[in-house]
């Protein structure tokens, strides 16, 4: 049950007109037409019109006090002529801090706020114009990069197909040679037996093959190339080679007069191709955007010095931090695109960097923003071992941005 007893107005109403429209946008003015009573906008309560903006909160939705700080859930409309209008929480009305650029929120406080809307508007317009220019230029560059990206993609695809073809051919050849080799083995064994007779207590391992894990392959490719050692000195002329092929290790022994040189060469070729092939395949498996516009970033690196550290971002590969003292730590290797529903190409995640003292490992989130140049703009470490980077590039420019502009009061 509620009682509304009209009382002598305690507060002067000399400036009633100006007071009553305070804090209202034009679209809301219809709710505040001078009448006998005012219905809270949520319809919860009917109050005398004098109680609108009288610095006492009557409506649960705060609608009776758009121009004062009386309602906890109220909001105040800054008209901000010359700039963008916006709402501020009622609690910022007359709190001694200038929030509206037109100074309208501090009509009864000790601070003297300047109307800065025109200046802000100018600056905003200049800024937006700059942004638009950047965007136009960015989009133009992006288009180029997309075109280049498509070409590059095709080129790489062609390369891939070619390599695959070569690999296939080699595979066939290899099979052929294996077969030949097998025959040769038999032949060689016979020969050896013939050569050494019964006194040959030593056996030659001509093929030793065992499976190794795929990721070991990369690590061991370097020492493999051209590795050659003598198995035993007294077996003059007998040489063994250990090479890797299709995740298998082959130890090949060359016995003079038995094996043939062509066979060995064929194997090394296969090896080389299989590696550039898997590398390329891995790279092409990455999502470079709908138009392969991010492809050009692969293989590039971008640097930025922040305080005592030099940061290096190599997109789709890795990120490092090098201190002035010279120690370099990994802040993560390419992980994935973060996927905030709308625009899935604006954040990259690099993970599994150098381990941290309290567990876990360093990781970096790279946010891509539109710009005419491709560059690393900022690096922060808001929490220990969690880095965030701002990376600017034309390919992050989105045409949708063009919709934005300066809204002025209706």
């Amino acid at each position: 049950m509620r009682f509304h007893i009209l009382v002598i107005a305690l507060f002067c109403c000399g400036s009633a007109e100006s007071r009553k429209v305070r804090g209202i946008s034009s679209s809301y003015k219809r709710f505040y037409r001078e009448k006998k009573s005012f219905l809270c906008i949520d319809g919860s309560k009917l109050i005398p019109f004098e109680q609108v903006n009288d610095d006492y909160c009557d409506c649960a939705d705060g609608s009776d006090e758009p121009g004062t700080s009386a309602c906890p859930r109220g909001r105040f409309y800054c008209t901000n002529l010359g700039f963008r209008p916006h709402y501020i929480p009622s609690s910022r009305v007359n709190d001694g801090i200038c929030d509206c650029c037109d100074a309208s929120d501090e009509y009864n406080s000790h601070v003297r706020c300047q109307n800065t809307c025109w200046n802000l508007g100018q600056r905003e317009r200049a800024f937006v114009e700059g942004q638009m220019r950047t965007l136009d230029e960015g989009l133009r560059l992006k288009q180029q990069l997309i075109e280049e990206g498509v070409l590059l993609w095709r080129e790489k695809q062609a390369q891939l197909r070619e390599l695959q073809q070569v690999a296939e051919d080699l595979q066939i050849k290899l099979e052929e040679h294996r077969r030949k080799k097998h025959e040769a083995d038999r032949f060689k064994e016979q020969t050896l037996r013939a050569l050494k007779g019964e006194d040959s207590g030593k056996s030659f391992l001509l093929f030793i093959s065992h499976t190794i894990a795929p990721d070991e392959v990369k690590a061991e490719v370097v020492p493999v190339h051209g590795e050659e050692r003598r198995l035993s000195d007294d077996e003059a002329g007998v040489r063994c080679f250990s090479v890797f092929f299709l995740f298998q290790v082959l130890v090949l022994c060359y016995v003079p007069g038995v094996s043939n040189s062509f066979w060995f060469r064929a194997v090394s070729n296969t090896l080389f191709f299989s590696f550039s092939l898997s590398d390329l395949q891995k790279k092409l498996d990455i999502d470079y955007g709908t138009d392969w516009e991010f492809l050009f970033l692969n293989g590039q690196c971008y640097k930025l010095t922040v305080y005592e550290y030099l940061y290096t971002l190599c997109p789709f590969s890795h990120i490092t931090q090098k201190s002035t003292a010279g120690t370099e730590v990994s802040l993560g290797v390419w992980g994935m695109w973060a996927e905030p529903a709308k625009n899935r190409y604006n954040q990259m995640i690099y993970e599994n960097g150098e381990p941290c003292w309290q567990g876990g490992s360093r990781s970096t989130t790279v946010t891509l923003t539109c710009g005419t140049e491709t560059a690393l703009r900022s690096v922060k470490e808001p929490s220990k071992c969690q880095y965030i980077m701002d990376f600017q590039t034309p390919v992050a420019c989105q045409p949708v941005l063009k919709q934005r502009g300066v809204h002025s009061e209706l």
């Binding site: 509620r2 007893i5 305690l10 006492y56 009557d58 906890p72 305080y307 071992c385």
Partner: protein, 944 residues
């Protein structure tokens, strides 16, 4: 970052998630504690020498003799104003002076006359003034009994545990032999040449004879291990003065509940220590402290309160050396059934608690505060050590801290985040990383290149900042502070006379000798705006690591044989942190020309630290038990005068779940010092990082805090005036209700708010004890009424913070929550009038400028609000006070009222006007609309 990492590695090598107990001594590992504790209750060897008794108007002195070694002690007994008895015991003729704690008492306590009531060879009875209180001094064995009527309130040395290790020469050293030989030769020479009977010589002979006796006795005493040297882990303590510990026991007949002696991570009600270590008081930087044990922590206040339904008393053991407190009870082992049986059989012995204090050096100087109520004890203790400093209003708001906000941009964006998510806060904090290489009073030249710009940005938001200044000073000849301290000789010295150096955040560091008044004055001068570059009026200070923390020292603190002028660190250890905060607070006062109130947070503290600012419970962890323990820890501090207490919201180590974080905000919002803080290695946890729901819950908790700021401020004014705790245990207000005696999962703010925070994970309800047979309590959110003296089950959701306003109270609040407390300065008040069963309510309204010392000149508004006979009135409590405010009364909410026909306002000029109001019949709440009078005016509002 890298150096910190290395340091952490150095400090916490091998540390797991719990404290490494091995780093800290048990009583057994502390030689004096072990020696003292080996002494079991029995007949005391001490005897009072009544013939030496001297009674002046202000004190009684009396010699005591130890019949075993003939060493004499001097007992001094004082009756102090306000029902306090002071007992001092020192050696009659110590080899060298023993340390007496300076600077803790606010003055020489004024005395009252003592008189002898009766005396015979067995003892003497002294009157303690008007209240039929007497002290009985028994001769053999010596003991003191403090009586009131027929009741013994407290007995000293009744268990014979008075033990005073007199200073002595070391016998096994060459120098001792030389000295004693030379001395006797010289005496002989003198004797030969002195023809006349020299009274001095005669005295000397007597003394020699005594010495002889002593020597022979002493030789029988076996030189125990650890008397002249002690090692702990790799650290050795050289102990040049040998054994010097002291001990005394106190018996408390009729007492089953004792409290206080913070800081321990333990329950409010102290436990008996028979089966474990005593409670330890030794300021230590304990890495990842464990809960529910008597281990020492960062601060020490050697004050214990004893309570039963009839009386509260207190013991203040004024000693700054390492101290251990043993508690035993004759009822501790008994079950409720056993107690019942005793009662039924009528053969019950009176429950009794026995307490024993042991300190490593110094003298026995104990203040026995005789109450009779807890509030009397608070005021007695306040008369000795002063009250809580009255903090700036803004410091009662919310504080946002983190180790670390990385740079100015980080500070700016966190500040902006609070505005974006519409969460109020008053202070943002900078931890050690803001400095130039952990050189305090400096700023990192890159990350904080323009601190004044940053501070000005906060000024524009009417907010403030706290930057850390620790007392370890980087040894670096390019560092001004270090050079000045070194050149002035202000550093603490090591035992060999060089500057003491230890490891702390900056690497090798010196420790200024804050026990020196000239050092403190110099330190204070460093806070001047022209000395502390980049500082401004809205920059305040945080003193951490002031136990002092020494990473490579014994027990992570300073070597006891380090030297502070005439004294060893051993003597002053627990006092060091107090001095650091004292000097810092002085600095903040001085920089404003004595106008502005300081705000300084400290981790280490001692008796009297309440005069200098706030304390927090140190490096806790993001665990539910740590949330729970924050209540008893702050309650214990409040009982011994330190009201401005809080725990790191969210927990310092580890990462809280969103639920724990929300619950911690809800709890912290109702604790005196409300600051969120987090370790460097934890993920960010600003309030908006846990999804919109949790952001809303945290926002609501912080907003509730801000609506109650007028009440908090008033409580602190009250604490400043009376020494009563702001956050207080239920038993303080309901001393006769045994059900309240051990409650420490809920608490009162002042007398009028009862808070039972939700501290259980996944909680669906809490059971709160609503105290007081006569009381009614109103839920502050729903205004639902509950009767007192009941356990009330309260169903809770994530948004619930069970808080009740006591019927009979009036609480002024400001309901327009803004960005910071400063923004709310001129806002109007809403008065929440909660009626008791008799339809009465009372409260106060205190207003001043919120930040200067002008309240000392009565520049404030202090009014009594009372409601009786349907009339609410505001009356000036201090008629000669003068202050004006723009604030007015915007709303009066009368809870538990019937529906009035009309409501009338009458102002001082006699004008009457009718007021509009709402009535909510379901909860019986009258809401008076916009009465509009100025908060400083006289007025009445009548419900008809």
């Amino acid at each position: 970052m890298a150096p910190v990492l290395v340091l952490w590695l150095a400090v916490c090598l091998g540390a797991t998630w719990a404290v490494d107990r091995g780093n800290f001594k048990t009583c057994d590992q502390s030689a004096f504690c072990k020696r003292q504790r080996a002494l079991k209750p029995g007949e005391s060897p001490y005897r009072a020498l009544l013939e030496t008794m001297e009674l002046t108007n202000t004190r009684l002195t009396l010699q005591l003799i130890n019949d075993n070694n003939k060493v004499r002690l001097l007992l001094e007994l004082y009756r102090l104003q306000g029902n306090i008895t002071r007992v001092k015991i020192n050696e009659l003729k110590p080899l060298k002076p023993r340390y007496e704690v300076p600077d803790v008492l606010i003055r020489d306590p004024p005395t009252e006359p003592l008189s002898v009531l009766s005396q015979d060879e067995n003892g003497v009875v002294l009157s303690l003034g008007a209240e039929s209180q007497r002290v009985i001094v028994s001769v053999r064995p010596f003991r003191l009994d403090i009586m009131e009527g027929h009741d013994v309130l407290m007995s000293l040395n009744s268990r014979g545990l008075l033990a005073f290790e007199h200073l002595r020469m070391r016998k096994d050293t060459f120098s001792y032999k030389v000295t004693s030989t030379v001395a006797s030769v010289w005496d002989n020479v003198k004797r030969v040449f002195s023809s006349q009977a020299d009274p001095e010589a005669e005295n000397k002979e007597e003394a020699d004879a005594a010495n002889q006796a002593e020597t022979t006795k002493e030789e029988e005493e076996k030189a125990e291990e650890g008397m002249w040297e002690e090692t702990f882990k790799s650290h050795s303590d050289s102990k040049p003065n040998g054994p010097s510990s002291i001990s005394l026991d106190f018996s408390l007949p009729g007492v089953e509940h004792v409290y206080g002696i913070p800081e321990h991570a333990d329950d409010l009600k102290l436990k008996t220590t028979d089966n474990g270590d005593p409670y330890r008081l030794y300021n230590l930087d304990v890495f990842q402290y464990e809960l529910y044990n008597p281990m020492a922590l960062y601060g020490a206040v050697p004050v214990m309160l004893a309570h039963n339904a009839q009386r509260t008393t207190g013991i203040f053991w004024l000693n700054a050396a390492e101290t251990w407190v043993d508690i035993s009870s004759n009822t501790a082992g008994k079950t409720v059934f056993g107690k019942m049986l005793d009662y039924v059989q009528g053969s019950s012995e009176i429950p009794q608690t026995d307490v024993r204090w042991i300190s490593e050096s110094g003298i026995i100087d104990v203040f026995i505060m005789l109450g009779p109520t807890a509030k009397h004890v608070f005021s007695q203790y306040a008369s000795l050590t002063g009250t809580q400093s009255f903090p700036p209003l803004a410091s009662l708001g919310y504080h946002q801290c983190r180790w670390n906000y990385n740079d100015q941009e980080d500070v700016r964006s966190v500040d902006a985040g609070f505005d974006e998510y519409d969460i109020p806060y008053d202070f943002i904090w900078l931890d050690i990383e803001h400095t130039d290489g952990k050189r305090y009073f400096t700023w990192d030249p890159h990350k904080f290149a323009t601190p004044k710009e940053m501070l000005q940005g906060l000024v524009e938001k009417r907010r403030k900042m706290v930057a850390i200044v620790d007392p370890h000073i980087k040894v670096d000849s390019n560092y001004k502070i270090h050079n000045e301290i070194r050149s002035r000789g202000f550093y603490i010295k090591n035992k060999d006379g060089g500057d003491y150096e230890g490891w702390c955040w900056p690497g090798n560091a010196g420790y200024p000798d804050f026990t020196r008044a000239d050092m403190r004055a110099w330190w204070a001068s460093m806070f001047a705006y022209d000395q502390y570059e980049g500082s401004m009026e809205n920059l305040y200070t945080w003193n951490d690591m002031n136990e002092p923390s020494v990473f490579n020292g014994p027990e992570v603190t300073m070597h006891k044989d380090a030297v502070h002028g005439a004294w060893e660190h051993r003597d002053v250890h627990n006092l060091y942190g107090l001095y650091v905060q004292m000097a810092t607070a002085d600095g903040l006062v001085q920089r404003s020309g004595g106008v502005e109130r300081p705000f300084v947070l400290t981790r280490a503290f001692f008796a009297g630290s309440q005069r200098y600012g706030a304390v927090w419970t140190g490096d806790n962890a993001a665990e539910w038990d740590h949330l729970k323990i924050s209540i008893p820890m702050c309650l214990s501090l409040g009982l011994v005068g330190i009201s401005f207490c809080g725990a790191d919201v969210g927990g310092f180590f580890k990462s809280p779940s969103p639920e724990l974080l929300v619950r911690w905000y809800q709890t912290g919002a109702y604790q005196p010092f409300f600051r969120a803080h987090a370790h460097l290695d934890t993920p960010r946890r600003e309030p908006w990082l846990f999804g919109p729901e949790n952001t809303a819950l945290i926002r609501e908790a912080v907003r509730q805090r801000y609506t109650f700021l007028p009440y908090w401020y008033q409580q602190f004014y009250h604490a400043y005036r009376t020494g009563e705790p702001v956050m207080r245990p239920l038993w303080v207000e309901y001393p006769q209700d045994p059900a309240t005696f051990a409650v420490d999962d809920e608490f009162l703010i002042g007398q009028n708010l009862l808070v039972h925070p939700v501290t259980e994970e996944g909680s669906r309800g809490v059971t709160a004890y609503l105290p007081g047979k006569e009381e009614v309590w109103f839920d502050i959110h729903t205004f639902q009424k509950h009767n007192g003296a009941q356990n009330l089950y309260i169903p809770v959701t994530m948004s619930s913070i069970p808080v009740f306003q006591r019927g009979g109270s009036i609480i002024p609040r400001k309901m327009r929550v803004r960005r910071s407390s400063s923004c709310m300065e001129h806002d109007p008040y809403t008065l929440f009038v909660a009626l008791n069963a008799r339809g009465l309510a009372e409260g106060e309204l205190y207003i001043d400028d919120g930040h200067t010392f002008n309240y000392e000149k009565k520049e404030f508004i202090y009014r009594r609000l009372s409601f009786s006979n349907h009339v609410l009135s505001s009356v000036n409590l201090v008629p000669d006070s003068h202050f004006t405010t723009n604030s007015w009364i915007e709303r009066i909410v009368i809870i538990g009222s019937s529906k009035p026909a009309k409501v009338t306002l009458k102002t001082a000029d006699g004008n009457e006007s009718q007021l509009e109001f709402d009535f909510d019949a379901s909860m019986s709440v009258v809401t008076v609309r916009k009465p509009g009078m100025n908060a400083g005016a006289d007025w009445t509002v009548t419900l008809q």
